[in-house]
């Protein structure tokens, strides 16, 4: 997987990284349809600019940038969605394919994490980025990325413990 532009089977490449990209985009949109729009734009933009697919930090940074632009473009809509999301059951966000109640509870706990911790967790666990790549994608230091990850795990552990 050297160059996404020369990669003939970009579909298999996308099927590999697509779920992680989509989950990452969901951190801002809270709507699967909008997240897919963002992922499509980011992936095609990435492909067009002839970037290397192994530069995952840049790919995720592109998704983040487009997601933020998306929010800015339609602030009113985003505010409306945020209100709806706040009123809705938080266990549906972000979307996971859970198989049992334990996984469902875990997904709900993830969705309740603070945003800055959750985006680091998403990149680390489901996109398997290194802290260096996460730091580059989010524009933060490696130490900050690592500490946010630790806080996220600690918060999850705390929220999953029986009261």
């Amino acid at each position: 997987m050297d160059n996404i532009a020369n990669h003939e089977d970009w579909k298999s490449c996308f099927s590999e990284i697509g779920p992680g990209l989509l989950l990452f985009a969901r951190q801002w949109t809270r709507s699967a349809a909008d997240a897919e729009d963002i992922v499509q734009e980011a992936f095609v933009k990435f492909w067009r600019r002839n970037h290397r697919i192994n530069n995952r930090a840049l790919l995720y940074a592109t998704v983040r940038s487009i997601a933020l632009d998306f929010i800015r473009r339609d602030k009113r809509r985003a505010r409306r969605e945020a209100t709806v999301v706040a009123e809705a059951d938080p266990s549906v966000e972000p979307q996971f394919e859970w198989e049992d109640e334990a996984q469902s509870a875990l997904a709900a706990a993830v969705s309740c994490l603070p945003h800055d911790q959750r985006e680091v967790l998403v990149l680390k666990i489901w996109s398997e980025l290194t802290f260096s790549e996460i730091a580059s994608a989010l524009g933060i230091s490696q130490n900050t990325a690592a500490s946010r990850y630790r806080y996220a795990l600690a918060n999850l552990k705390k929220s999953l413990q029986p009261q």
Partner: protein, 186 residues
Amino acid sequence: MNDFPELESDLRALRPARPSPVLLERIEEAMVENCRASVSDAGSMAKWRWRFTETPYRFGIGLVAAAAAVVLLLARINTDQTRNQDKEIAQVSPATETRPVLPAFSGGSGADRSISSNKFVPAGATQVVYNTRNEGLQFADGSRQPLRRLRYQTQQTWQWRNPSTGASLRVSYPSEEVVLIPVSGQ
């Protein structure tokens, strides 16, 4: 993070929702559209490239034509001067002395010889590229297709030679050429 290995493995077991098949189709369409746009951009950029690459050559041809015109003009002046000198000598010299030496048509043929001796024929042309600089990618106005800008610095030399006299004329000048090459999306 070794502090929460169990929690990490639980999280990894939780799979994110897969993108819809429609998304894959939409991306494919966008890719195809992008390729078409790239091809059309490449076509328009080929015109750019032609313009950028041809202009120095046109300039070079113009310069060569100007140099050739100067050479011909000098040759003409030189010939005229030779003719005038012949005329003056003929006027000054007594007719009786010149006639036995030169035949009746020798004057004309002498002039012809003078003209032919001033003929220069092209002897060679060289173009030496002494520096190539990659000036990076750029986007032309309204284009989404990146273009790689290459600058070639060359030294062009044109030579003419007079076969009868062995004289040679050489014109040498530096030239610079900017080439915009569309970066293919394939």
